[in-house]
C-alpha cells in the first residue's frame, strides 16, 4: 500500500487511528499496530507476507540463541545468521542477475525460474540484520516477545521504503512510548509535508523526466537533457525524502521517534558531505555494520581504499541488481577516495560556490548512471549534456507542451532543496500568527494533494524497487 494512495488516506489511516486510540493497554496497541502493519504489507503482495514472517520468526530464535549461548561458538553462530539473512536477500534480489551474468560470461544456458522481488525486502532484512548483530554485540537485549519483534520489523511507516530504523532506536519505545495530541499533530503535519513533496513535486518532476528520457536521447538537445536530469534529481529526492517524511510523521502519530533520513543533500559542499546528508539511515548502517567491522580507516592505506570500494560496491548493489547500480556505487566510491586523498583540501581553498557547483555536477552525473540502466545510453546522455548540440530542440518542445504545467514545480523544488523554509519556521516558531499561517498552508497542500490524487493515476514510488 502506498501512503499517497486514496485507500491509505481514507480507509487505512482513519481505521488504524480509531482502533489504536480506543485501547489504552500498550500490548493491545502493539497488537493493533502489528495487525495493521501486516495488512499494509499484504496489500501489495499478499504472498510475500509469509516470507517476511519466516524471516522474523527465524531471527527471533537466532537472537534468543545468541543471547543464551555466549562463547566462541557464538561468533560463528552470528556469522551464520548474517549469512542466512544475506542469502535470503541474495536469492530474492540477486539470483536472476547472478545467473544471467554467469550465463553471459561463460556462454552457458543455465535455465532458471525468475524470482520475483518482494517489496521492501532490502529494508526489512537490513533492520533484522542490525537487530541480530546488535544482540550479538550486546548493544540491545533480545526481544523476548515475538509479537513485539514482529511489530518492530513490520511497522508500516518504515516497512517498505525506509528509513532503516535500527532496533536500538525504538527498543524502548516498543513498550514504553507515550502518545499525546501535540506529537500526533506534529506527526500529521510532517505527513502532509511528505505527501506534498511526493504528490505535488516528485510526481511533476517525474512527468518531465520521463517525457524527456523516454524519447530518443541521441536526438535531444543539451538543454532538454539537462532539464531531464535535473528534474530526475528533484524527483528522486522529493520522492524518497517525501516518503521518509511521511514515515517519520506517521511514526510520531503513534508515539515513535524515527531518526532523520535526509538533511538537504543538494546543498552539500562535497560528495563526502552529500553522503552524510542523503539516505542517512543506509549510509550509517553500512558504516556501522560493514565499513567499521572491516577496519574502517584504522588500517593501511591500501586496505582503507579497499574497504571504501567494497562498501560502495555493496551500496550500489543494494539499490538494485543491475550493472548500472554497481557502476554508480563504484563511481561514488572512487570520488570519495579522491576527496579523502586531495579534492577536499582543494575545495577548502576555493569559494563555497565552486564546491557546491562541483558537488551538484557530480551528483547529477551519478543520477544519469542511476536512472539509465543501459550504459550505452548513459554515455549518450552524458555526451549530449556536455557537448552542446541543438538537435530537435524545437520539435521536442512543440510535441511536449503538455508538460509545461509541471515546470512551475521547479520553483518549490529548488526552494525546498535548501533549508530556507526550515530556517524561517525555526525563527518564527514562537510567533503564533506565523504558525497559524503555516498550518493553514499545510491544509491547502493537503487539499491540493487529494485533488491531484483524484486526477492523476501516475503515482509510483521509486524506492519500492529497492
Amino acid at each position: 500500500m502506498l501512503f499517497s494512495s486514496l485507500v491509505f488516506i481514507f480507509f487505512y489511516l482513519p481505521l488504524l487511528i480509531f482502533f489504536y486510540y480506543i485501547f489504552k493497554k500498550r500490548s493491545i496497541k502493539n497488537l493493533i499496530l502489528l495487525t495493521f502493519s501486516l495488512f499494509f504489507y499484504s496489500w501489495g503482495e499478499p504472498i510475500y507476507l509469509f516470507l517476511m514472517l519466516l524471516s522474523i520468526s527465524s531471527n527471533y530464535l537466532i537472537a534468543i540463541f545468541l543471547d543464551k549461548h555466549r562463547s566462541n561458538f557464538n561468533k560463528h553462530m552470528m556469522l551464520l545468521a548474517v549469512a542466512f539473512n544475506v542469502g535470503f536477500l541474495f536469492y530474492f534480489k540477486y539470483f536472476n542477475f547472478f545467473i544471467t551474468n554467469i550465463n553471459n560470461i561463460f556462454s552457458l544456458k543455465i535455465e532458471f525460474n525468475e524470482v520475483m522481488l518482494p517489496i521492501g525486502i532490502s529494508f526489512y532484512t537490513f533492520q533484522i540484520l542490525s537487530y541480530v548483530i546488535d544482540v550479538y554485540r550486546k548493544k540491545v537485549e533480545p526481544q523476548k516477545n515475538i509479537l513485539n519483534l514482529a511489530m518492530y520489523v513490520s511497522l508500516f511507516p518504515q516497512l517498505i521504503a525506509g528509513p532503516i530504523v535500527r532496533y536500538e532506536t525504538v527498543e524502548n519505545e516498543i513498550v514504553n512510548r507515550s502518545e499525546n495530541l501535540d506529537d500526533f499533530l506534529a506527526g500529521f503535519k510532517r505527513f502532509i509535508i511528505g505527501l506534498g513533496k511526493k504528490v505535488l513535486i516528485a510526481n511533476n518532476m517525474a512527468l518531465i523526466a520521463d517525457t524527456i528520457m523516454s524519447n530518443d536521447i541521441s536526438r535531444m538537445s543539451s538543454l532538454w537533457l539537462w532539464i531531464g536530469i535535473v528534474a530526475y534529481s528533484f524527483q528522486i529526492f522529493f520522492d524518497f525524502s517525501g516518503y521518509s517524511d511521511m514515515a517519520i510523521g506517521l511514526g510520531k502519530m503513534f508515539g515513535f521517534n524515527f531518526l532523520e533520513n535526509f538533511n538537504y543533500p543538494y546543498i552539500a559542499k562535497n560528495i563526502t558531505d552529500f553522503w552524510r546528508r542523503w539516505h542517512i539511515s543506509l549510509s550509517t548502517w553500512f558504516r556501522d555494520y560493514l565499513y567499521i567491522p572491516m577496519g574502517g580507516n584504522k588500517v593501511s592505506q591500501f586496505k582503507w581504499y579497499r574497504n571504501i570500494f567494497v562498501v560502495w560496491l555493496i551500496t550500489g548493489l543494494w539499490h538494485g541488481a543491475s550493472w548500472n547500480f554497481v557502476i554508480w556505487g563504484l563511481y561514488f566510491g572512487t570520488i570519495l577516495i579522491l576527496e579523502k586523498y586531495f579534492i577536499i583540501k582543494i575545495l577548502q581553498l576555493i569559494p563555497n560556490f565552486f564546491s557546491h557547483f562541483y558537488s551538484i555536477i557530480l551528483i547529477i552525473i551519478g543520477w544519469v548512471i542511476f536512472r539509465l540502466e543501459d550504459m550505452s545510453l548513459v554515455f549518450t546522455y552524458l555526451k549530449g549534456m556536455f557537448f552542446i548540440n541543438k538537435n530537435e530542440s524545437l520539435y521536442f518542445y512543440m510535441e511536449n507542451l503538455n508538460i509545461t504545467n509541471s515546470f512551475i514545480y521547479f520553483i518549490p523544488a529548488i526552494i525546498l532543496s535548501t533549508p530556507l523554509i526550515k530556517n524561517i519556521i525555526d525563527k518564527n516558531k514562537e510567533n503564533q500568527f506565523f504558525i497559524l499561517l503555516y498550518n493553514t498552508s499545510l491544509i491547502f497542500i493537503f487539499l491540493m494533494c487529494i485533488a491531484k490524487l483524484l486526477t492523476s493515476s501516475y503515482n509510483p514510488f521509486i524506492y519500492f524497487r529497492f
Binding site: L6, F11, P14, M398, N402, N405, L454, T455
Partner: protein, 395 residues
C-alpha cells in the same frame, strides 16, 4: 485567555480540518448510493468492490478499490474537471505564447496529454498513427470483414488518427494500404485531402464527424448504392450551447468554443428498435424545442443523435426496398436515419456492445440470413479498425 494562546488553539484546530475531512469522506464513500456514470469522463464509474480472497491475492481488489474511491469520492468529478481544466488552460495559454514566438504554421503542437492542435487552429486532434507499426493489427479486423457472405461496401472515414496534415502531399496511408491489400467489393473514403476539409467535416473538440461531414458521408453512400437522390437538409439549426466534444471532456479542456449545430431533415417515417425494444432513438424533438441540458461537459452528440447500443433497427415498412446492415461505431449514430430513408429495414450493429446488449455472440453470416440482409455497409475509421473490440468472428 491571551491572544497568543487563542491563536495557538485555532492553529491546532485548523489541523483537525483535514482529519475531519478524511473521516467524513470515508463515511460518505461507504454510505452513499454509488454514482454510475460520468459525463465528463464519458465512462461508467467504478463502485466499491466486494471483497474476495481470490481478487485480493491477485491484486485486483486493491486496484479496484483505489479506482472506486477516485470515482466515488465526494465531488470527485467536479474536482477532477476543475483541476485538470485549470492546469490545461495554463498549458494552452503558455503554448500560445510559445507559438507566437516560434510559429506553428503546418505544425502539430501538443499541449494536452493526448491531443494536439495543428497550425494553431482551435481543433483538438490526434497525431497520425505510424502505419508501419500497425500493419499487422489491421488484418485482425479487416480479414473477417472481407469474408462476409453478402454484398459488402466499406466507407472508410479519414480522421486525424490516419492523416498527417504536415506532409506536403496529404494522403491517408492507412486507406491506401487497405485498398491495396484487402479485397472489398466496394471501398471508398471520405476524401479529406487537406486541413481545411478536415475542419469543415469535424467538430472542434470531438472525434466524430459533424453534421456537414455526415451529410458528405451519406452522399457518398447514396452514390455507391446508385440511389438517384440524397435527401437534403432543409435547415441548419445552431443551438446556443457550446459543443464540448469527447476530446474536450477527456482532457478536461473547455476553451475551444463552437456552438452545437445540426441539419434538420424531413425523414421518411420509421420505427426504431433499440436492442429489440420499440422506442425512439435520439432526442431530436427535445433539441428542436430547445429542451436540452446546457451544462459544461454534456455529450450533445450522443444526447441528440442517440447513444451507443448493440443493435439498432430502423423499419420504414417499405417491403419493396432492400435491407441493409451497417456495422459501425458511434460514427454512424448521426448517419443511420439518413441511410434508413432508402431501405426497408436498416440494421445497425456496434460490435463492441452487441453481446452485452443482446445476450448472444454476434454471428454476422447467420444474422444476414436470419434478417434477409441484402447489403452490408462498414463505416469505420482507423481507430475502430485497430480496436480489438470491433473484431468480428465470421463463421
Amino acid at each position: 485567555m491571551r491572544l497568543d494562546q487563542l491563536i495557538k488553539k485555532i492553529s491546532n484546530l485548523i489541523l483537525i480540518i483535514p482529519l475531519v475531512l478524511i473521516v467524513v469522506s470515508s463515511i460518505m464513500l461507504i454510505s452513499r448510493e454509488p454514482k454510475k456514470y460520468s459525463n465528463i469522463e464519458n465512462r461508467n464509474l467504478k463502485s466499491l468492490p466486494s471483497f474476495s480472497f481470490e481478487d485480493f491475492f491477485q491484486g485486483e481488489y486493491q486496484s479496484d478499490l483505489e479506482s472506486a474511491i477516485a470515482d466515488q469520492f465526494p465531488l470527485s468529478q467536479t474536482i477532477k474537471k476543475n483541476m485538470l481544466s485549470s492546469e490545461n488552460s495554463i498549458s494552452y495559454y503558455f503554448s500560445n505564447v510559445v507559438n507566437k514566438i516560434i510559429g506553428c504554421e503546418n505544425r502539430y503542437v501538443k499541449f494536452l496529454k493526448n491531443s494536439y492542435v495543428f497550425s494553431c487552429d482551435d481543433y483538438l486532434i490526434r497525431s497520425p498513427l505510424d502505419i508501419e507499426k500497425r500493419k499487422n493489427d489491421l488484418s485482425k479486423t479487416l480479414l473477417p470483414l472481407s469474408k462476409i457472405n453478402a454484398s459488402t461496401t466499406f466507407l472508410y472515414i479519414n480522421s486525424s488518427d490516419s492523416i498527417d496534415f504536415s506532409e506536403e502531399k496529404i494522403n491517408d496511408k492507412f486507406y491506401d494500404y487497405i485498398v491495396e491489400n484487402y479485397f472489398f467489393e466496394n471501398i471508398d473514403e471520405l476524401e479529406i485531402k487537406d486541413w481545411d476539409t478536415y475542419k469543415k467535416y469535424y467538430y472542434k473538440t470531438d472525434h466524430h464527424l459533424n453534421h456537414v461531414g455526415i451529410q458528405k458521408a451519406y452522399e457518398k453512400i447514396i452514390r455507391i448504392y446508385d440511389i438517384p437522390s440524397a435527401i437534403q437538409p432543409f435547415k441548419e439549426i445552431e443551438f446556443e450551447v457550446n459543443f464540448d466534444g469527447s476530446r474536450a471532456r477527456t482532457e478536461s479542456f473547455y476553451l475551444f468554443k463552437e456552438n452545437f449545430r445540426v441539419y434538420k431533415y424531413n425523414f421518411f417515417n420509421f420505427d426504431t428498435y433499440i436492442n429489440g425494444v420499440l422506442k425512439p432513438y435520439g432526442n431530436y424533438d427535445k433539441y428542436y424545442n430547445f429542451k436540452y441540458d446546457s451544462t459544461v461537459g454534456v455529450n450533445h452528440y450522443g444526447s441528440f443523435y442517440g447513444g451507443d447500443v448493440g443493435e439498432l433497427i430502423y423499419d420504414t415498412k417499405r417491403n419493396e426496398l432492400k435491407n441493409i446492415l451497417i456495422i459501425s461505431s458511434s460514427f454512424s449514430n448521426a448517419l443511420n436515419p439518413l441511410v434508413a430513408n432508402h431501405f426497408n429495414k436498416t440494421f445497425v450493429i456496434d460490435p463492441r456492445h452487441y453481446s452485452r446488449d443482446m445476450n448472444e455472440e454476434f454471428d454476422i453470416n447467420n444474422y444476414i440470413i436470419k434478417n434477409e440482409i441484402d447489403e452490408v455497409l462498414i463505416f469505420f475509421d482507423i481507430t475502430a479498425i485497430l480496436d480489438e473490440k470491433f473484431i468480428l468472428e465470421v463463421k
